[in-house]
């Protein structure tokens, strides 16, 4: 309850009683994230990644001589509140808006940022985000319309599956993945023999495993949040489900591996961003992150971290703090570790604001994620 | 002309126990019928059956010849039957005046007119009369809950009269009321009955009260009528004495 907590944010500000004091030599980049509610895990990871980057940058005196001022605003994982937060920070003329992560929240709030001509750096992965020709929205990770084809190809060529069972979590993340995956399967005429929806926070997966088992498909595509993935994997092992389990970062992440306590072994899939990537820069980052927040960061941590450095790179390129110029310059830009080491991996942003990077095919081998293949950037469309 | 209230072969049993056993009686217009009997003799059950609060197992109830067995209390009330309760039943948070207006409003106009019409449903006058009739004028604006027990009893009765009913069933009106207040209540009831030609049925323990008030008395024991007649006669009836002593 008490959800209007944040809705109320700065009614006072609205009333003009308190004006947010903006230090002269700082640049205002508010972060609007899922800090409580169902998205808290993603939100806090994303936040900590950004905090780490901001601390590093400010320690070196900021960029273009300005330090980053990054107030954190909670969306409570609700789109309505996310929209309010964006509306709120827009009253203070931000340079760039960071977040949110939940696609639903992004889709509602990005219109406002667009009207105000303020760039927005989002964590959402729903395909729709970059399909509304909004020149001010930029991703920090693959949209599902990029990651799903990669998985689909793997299912077809790697596993050589003729039929798949599909288990997904019924929120906007899971539903989006499920819809895109289904599309890709149909286009490769691979049959979907089971389509199982699960609840966020579900604990008992026996019914779902029974269904998947009964479908006896050549492969199972698992698209759940980390904890649910872990619970599913345990149940799957328990009932001796022995077909290849394919997934995304949320199935192969180190956290899932730890939580699943052994049940994750043999799981395969596509990983957009992972701290286990065979790239020194990434692993050093993972070290720093662990040291600073003492937990293993997931892909959202990397998204937040690299996102900040993306902004730094673009800004230094245009040489001024100008939101419009930023948006123009950021389209089609390629940031490579040569110029900005902390971008970790070379990345390109296309005309829609979609990001394009190398990604990986991974497999869990005795309790560790092993990268079996590096997938090159997609040909820039 | 037919009786105002006509009860024939009324029977109510809960599981094994038969609380009211084949009771029949009639009440003529303008009568004040008293129903007495030891505790658990089925007086209140009888009342609740007559008033539709309970559905009788068998038997029939007629109001002015019209069968009303099992009719909902509110519909019965619309036919001009109203009641008071053994345990106080008022609306403590409402003012005394609002209690009375409420008691009358459902007899004014239609559901719709009650929404769009005057907020007092044109009953302020009637309410004031009733209030002063029961000598509660000084309390008209007080919350009913703040009244003394006796005053609440008066209010309870006043509410029963508010809609000008033809038949009023009073369930132990004297219960827990001190003697002065009791005399006052009785005098008011008699006056009202005389003025309005109303018909009363009174359940009461308080013998004196019944003897003084009622024109006819009916004695209930173990769910059956064991005696009936003028107060004085009933009082001397050995069966009655037995019933009370035996109890």
């Amino acid at each position: 309850m008490l959800r209007h907590g944040l809705i109320a944010s700065a009614l006072v500000v609205g009333l003009g009683i308190i004006q947010q004091a903006k230090a002269q030599n700082s640049v205002y980049m508010p972060a609007i994230l899922e800090l409580s509610g169902t998205g808290a895990v993603s939100g806090t990871n994303f936040r900590d990644g950004m905090i780490l980057a901001v601390e590093e940058i400010n320690a070196k005196g900021g960029f273009l001589g300005k330090k980053i001022e990054m107030p954190l605003l909670d969306t409570q994982s609700e789109a309505g509140i996310a929209r309010l937060q964006v509306q709120k920070v827009l009253d203070n003329k931000p340079y760039v808006i960071l977040g949110p992560v939940f696609s639903g929240s992004v889709l509602t709030s990005m219109v406002l940022a667009q009207q105000a001509e303020i760039p927005q750096l989002v964590g959402g992965e729903a395909a729709a985000i970059t399909q509304r020709n909004n020149p001010y929205v930029f991703r920090t990770s693959f949209g599902q319309q990029f990651s799903m084809p990669k998985i689909a190809n793997y299912v077809r060529d790697g596993i050589k599956a003729k039929s798949v069972a599909l288990i997904w979590v019924n929120n906007d993340f899971g539903k989006g993945g499920r819809d895109n995956f289904t599309k890709e399967m149909n286009s490769r005429n691979i049959k979907i023999v089971a389509d199982v929806s699960t609840e966020a926070g579900q604990a008992d997966f026996s019914a779902d495993v029974v269904k998947v088992k009964a479908a006896n498909a050549d492969a199972v595509f698992v698209y759940l949040n980390e904890e649910e993935s872990a619970r599913f994997l345990r149940e799957a092992r328990k009932q001796g489900l022995n077909v290849p389990l394919i997934g995304e970062t949320t199935l192969l992440g180190q956290k899932v591996i730890d939580l699943a306590q052994g049940a994750a072994n043999g799981v395969k899939g596509h990983v957009g961003l992972t701290v286990d990537a065979p790239i020194p820069a990434v692993q050093q980052f993972a070290e720093r992150f662990k040291k600073r927040f003492n937990y293993v960061c997931d892909h959202n941590g990397i998204k937040g971290y690299t996102g900040i450095y993306f902004i730094k790179a673009v800004t230094e390129k245009i040489g001024k703090f100008d939101s419009k110029a930023f948006a123009e310059a950021a389209h089609g830009i390629t940031v490579s570790p040569k110029d900005e080491p902390n971008i970790l991996m070379e990345a390109t942003w296309d005309k829609n604001g979609d990001i394009n990077r190398e990604s990986f095919l991974g497999e869990v081998v005795d309790g560790k994620q092993k990268i079996v293949e590096v997938l090159p950037k997609l040909g820039v469309k | 002309m037919s009786a105002v209230l006509q009860v024939s072969n009324l029977r109510k049993s809960f599981g094994g126990i038969t609380a009211v056993n084949d009771v029949s009686f009639e009440v003529e217009e303008g009568e004040i019928l008293g129903i007495i009997g030891p505790n658990g003799s089925g007086k209140s059950t009888l009342f609740n059956c007559v008033l539709g609060q309970l559905l009788p197992t068998s038997g029939e109830v007629r109001i002015e010849g019209k069968p009303v067995t099992g009719m909902r209390p509110c519909d019965l009330n619309q036919l001009g039957v109203s009641r008071t309760f053994q345990l106080l039943q008022i609306f403590p948070q409402l003012s005394v005046r609002d209690n009375l207006v409420l008691a009358g409003q459902e007899h004014q106009g239609t559901m719709f007119s009650r929404l769009v019409g005057r907020s007092d449903a044109g009953l302020t006058g009637a309410a004031e009369q009733m209030i002063s009739f029961f000598r509660l004028s000084h309390l008209a604006d007080d919350q009913a809950g703040s009244l003394s027990y006796g005053q609440q009893k008066l209010l309870d009765a006043a509410m029963a009269f508010m809609a000008g009913p033809r038949l009023v069933l009073l369930d132990e009106p004297a219960g827990g009321v001190n003697l002065t207040m009791l005399a006052h209540l009785r005098e008011r009831l008699e006056t009202y009955q005389r003025e309005r030609k109303a018909t009363f049925v009174v359940i009461e323990h308080q013998m004196e009260f019944v003897m003084a008030l009622c024109t006819r008395v009916l004695v209930l024991a173990e769910g059956r009528i064991i005696a009936e007649g003028k107060p004085a006669d009933v009082r001397r009836d050995p069966a009655v004495i037995a019933a009370y002593l035996g109890h």
Binding site: L107 | I90, Q93
Partner: protein
């Protein structure tokens, strides 16, 4: 006391009209939200505060109203019609939801309505063909009346305020009409009410239906305000929140919902100093405040005023007592 109340109303209304001119879009947005939620809270206060029928479904009715409006307007139906439809549909569903109240009371009723709310959420989420499912409905336009576009925050705020005032007056009329007295009777003593010729059955269904329709009408404004609907915004939390508004404002007091909605919107803001821990502080504050004024803010005020000059409460300001 009444003169005092009148004065307060005048001042408050003046504020509601003048203040937004000095606000930035966000402030105006919040005031609009306050107005919209107040309408729903007034409905709940009618069902819960006056008639004593516990309901945890008001949030669901905002959803029903909002989705009805969004779907109809996007199908080309004029907003005014959609607005009416939202109210009517909620009225009908509310009437049906009233039937359980004829059988069970108090906490059981709360459980039934709680279940109802969750069921509505599931339908909104799962029936994608109709409601857009988990993705929700976006791009909801703000209405235009005879050339007056409410697209701008200020215009839309005055639409909300106008509707709020109109509905408040209607409700005010109803609670001081015999109906209002009948509703209080349902709460205070249904048995006696029945014996006084009150058709408690009809009044119960009626109060549920009316309360719900106010929820629906609030939803009809909620949709164009947020311009995006997702099932999650109409889950249990919303209903709990409205319950909080009614209780904190003062259950059974006409102006309770106005204050309650304001508090529920402002309180977290006061805890803002606590930075990341604001929700923590907020929850703590609620737990501390509840015992201090269980009769809500207005209840507290009334006690104070009573202490000053002894005057009894009337039907319009009678408050719930759970026996």
């Amino acid at each position: 006391m009444n003169r005092l109340a009148a004065a307060a109303i005048v001042v408050a209304t003046a504020f509601a009209i003048v203040v937004p001119f000095f606000l930035k879009p966000f402030g105006i947005y919040l005031l609009s939200l306050w107005a919209v939620l107040t309408i729903a809270a007034i409905g709940l206060n009618l069902t819960l505060g006056y008639a004593g029928q516990v309901s945890l479904a008001q949030g669901a009715f905002i959803g029903i109203g909002a989705y009805t409006t969004a779907l109809l307007t996007q199908a080309g139906v004029p907003y005014a019609l959609a607005f009416v439809a939202a109210g009517a549909l909620s009225f009908a569903i509310g009437w049906l939801l009233g039937y359980p109240a004829l059988r069970v009371q108090h906490h059981y009723l709360a459980f039934v309505t709680l279940a109802f709310t969750t069921l509505v959420f599931l339908v909104l989420r799962n029936e994608e063909w109709l409601t857009g499912g988990i993705y929700g409905i976006s791009g909801i336009m703000r209405p235009v009346f005879f050339g007056w576009s409410t697209a701008k925050p200020l215009d839309f705020y005055f639409l909300c305020l106008g509707v709020l005032i109109a509905l408040s007056l209607a409700t005010w009329w109803m609670v001081r009409s015999p109906w209002g007295r009948a509703f209080v009777a349902l709460r205070e003593n249904p048995v006696r009410a029945l014996s006084l010729g009150l058709d408690t059955r009809r009044y119960t269904l009626m109060v549920f239906a009316i309360g719900s329709s106010l929820g629906g009408l609030s939803g009809a404004l909620f949709a164009p305000l947020v311009q995006f609907l997702e099932p999650a915004s109409f889950g249990l939390n919303r209903s709990f929140d409205l319950l909080l508004m009614v209780i904190v404002g003062g259950s059974g007091y006409f102006f309770g919902p106005f204050v309650g909605a304001l508090v529920s919107v402002l309180l977290p803001e006061w805890t803002r100093i606590a930075e990341g821990y604001y929700l923590l502080v907020y929850a703590a504050l609620v737990m501390v405040l509840m015992p201090l004024c269980p009769a809500g803010v207005i209840g507290l005020l009334e006690r104070v005023l009573k202490a000053l000059n002894r005057r009894p409460g009337t039907a319009a300001s009678a408050r719930v007592v759970e026996q």
